[in-house]
Symmetry: C2
Subunit: 469 residues, 2 copies
Amino acid sequence: MTTTRSVLAAQATDYPRWFQDVIAKAELADNGPVRGTMVVRPYGYGIWELLQEAMNRKIKATGAENAYFPLLIPESYLQREAEHVEGFSPELAVVTHAGGKQLEEPAVIRPTSETMIGEYMGKWIQSYRDLPLLLNQWANAVRWELRPRLFLRTTEFLWQEGHTAHATFDDARAFATKILYDVYRDVMVNVLAIPVVVGRKTRRERFAGAINTMTLEAMTGDGKALQMGTAHELGQNFARAFDIDYLSSNGQRELAWTTSWGSTTRMVGGVIMVHGDDDGLRVPPAVAPVQVVVLAIKDETVAAARRIADDLEAAGLRVTVDDRTDQPFGRRAVNWELKGIPVRIELGPRDLAANAATVVRRLRSTKTAVNLADLTSTAVAAMDSDQAHLLEQATARQTARITTVSTVDDAVEAAAAGWASLPYDAVGETGEDRLATAGITVRCLQRPDGTLPASEDEDDLTAFVARSY
Amino acid sequence: MTTTRSVLAAQATDYPRWFQDVIAKAELADNGPVRGTMVVRPYGYGIWELLQEAMNRKIKATGAENAYFPLLIPESYLQREAEHVEGFSPELAVVTHAGGKQLEEPAVIRPTSETMIGEYMGKWIQSYRDLPLLLNQWANAVRWELRPRLFLRTTEFLWQEGHTAHATFDDARAFATKILYDVYRDVMVNVLAIPVVVGRKTRRERFAGAINTMTLEAMTGDGKALQMGTAHELGQNFARAFDIDYLSSNGQRELAWTTSWGSTTRMVGGVIMVHGDDDGLRVPPAVAPVQVVVLAIKDETVAAARRIADDLEAAGLRVTVDDRTDQPFGRRAVNWELKGIPVRIELGPRDLAANAATVVRRLRSTKTAVNLADLTSTAVAAMDSDQAHLLEQATARQTARITTVSTVDDAVEAAAAGWASLPYDAVGETGEDRLATAGITVRCLQRPDGTLPASEDEDDLTAFVARSY
């Protein structure tokens, strides 16, 4: 198999460098000129588009509707919710001048839109008939990051942010939980092939202004945690700050209960970190902008390569033909390996004479001769099979690298090589302090049966702790 | 037919007020808190999403790829192209502080991305093999507007902006022209049912930094012009400013030729203004978030309404059931008229007993009894037929309200009631000044056969002049 190890740092040697190298060599993204910003190149954006399409479909299936709220939020809006402004103030980008004049009130670029959307929920909701109000937007957001990293933590990122209002605490909790499992976990597991541990954040890790934050955590190739998405119960905090109230069916004014939930371009970083190997990216077929590349080795096989590509496309696959026969074969093969295209069909004159082609399965690291007549069925079958394979591999690694321990000290030791799970009773607030000094956080809490705790004060909770991106 | 005239200003009496009323009553959008910004509500966003999907498909068919470039542009980038910065400076929103500190270099929120994308084209393009480079992004942009108006001219707007680089002047011109006709005109005419006059802008109306701007102009219900989209030839201006050069096949360094082209949420304003009537919005079926509403008049018809809706959905239509039987029928009917849903099926107990329903065609203003067995075929047939009907109506109005004149004075008079067309030779630069004092502009220039002039200096050009939004 062609190896690309020379062009990338090895994962085992320098994982962060490997991550940067893959992003550059697979042409996923570039650094933007303003510190911490990102240019998402067509190949990286192609992955995001497919992911977004799947997520959007699932979000709509919950009954939520897409809308669009302004980028610029009056500074005073944020100040209406005390914890929220305290949490976000250090990260704000502020517009002070516009149209050649100083603004009377500075506007911040949205770091998140609870305040903006809260203001309009307050206007639109009058009676219980208007509830639940289920909104979502696909947008950019800006948070000034101290340690930016492409895809994982960029000053500007792309995301969907959902915001809902409900009549009761129970309705709000049920909806946030539905988003967590039926939308986020479903897409992460079944589309991105990324297993996630779903749990509740501790008080310290909560979203600023929430009464509860629920999270989905993935394990990266180097055994750290990556928060893939969160759903927040906001209680009545934002309803109080933005007058989101309604007339109940028995004529009482009641405050609504709101939620918010988000998932970002960071998920593309998750795909890279969970599935990538020393040869580059490995893209799950469901989000692969190119699922099959047909590589014509010589000029005389270009026409046949195009016919094969037509057949593959007719079978519903996303296909590209590499007809750059004036460039070295090796360099072209390495390029497609780096990009992690699931199936590469190599077609040379000898293959063609034998009525066959070489099928390279990037996600399996196999290389076999396949009869031309069987190419389409082989490629189609590879998609489901390789999608499942990536999920199995990632799940096996996650299982193998979570160590069960019983003390914070053992957790710190275990977290050098993966995650640790331990009784939350053995952690507590002082334990979180101790973990923090070692650069480790409680990623989430689960009940013994793996379900979500109704509160962090329940007995017998398990804490998952890890270093994280 | 239920009339909604009481809730909207009449078009003939106060067209701008009618426009605002429709936007509010049909729940399309709201004003944002920062002056000139807009909240796009779910119904308005639903129209945008369908429009965007159609446009995106057409853009991809040209070979252009989607990507995403940062929102924040260093101020110095804009200054590299003299005309560009002069044109956009008065409209910029500037971020001076971020992360609690003053920025070393202020960043502007993109008013458009020629400079940002030019910088990366310069990095990515090395040889003739890298050309053409065809990029597009779906994004928000901010231009501080003096006289903002919802959808038509908002401080923040959503759009796609395409940016391409080519080896030759001819390639660039051919591509910009292809976008104009095969993407923009096609979507406007065949999806939005909006006829457009396609032509070349005069020097005075060009995009800042372009050597040529081409435009598509629609006629609004009050006979004004609305610029629906533009494509620019940028010559080598941005290539020079951002070092976009390439090694030609014979080893020479050559500057590339670039284009840019954009279409925005303003198009939703076009749908409102071109098709709306005194009863509210009329949405072309192709972009109608709800194509058919099945209105159950009484509780006992709700179940049947749901069955009908299922059949309609199975036939591929976008359908909603109105089962709010606790609310007055009249108010519900008015609500759907305001929203311009193409087909409304009203189902009362007597209808049901007679095995029939009342079909109200909003875009035709007809109301007929239809046998239940024929409902689906009736609704399906209405879609194509009503789509065509809207285009015919708009085309007929446009034709009727363009007056051919021969002098600028006559054009000024004619433009009080519609557009005027006259020989461009009769206008010239002084004529444009004279028109400007009357609040009229040359919208575009065409050859006698309706095609695009290669230059504004060609003989026998026709100028279309009008008041505009």
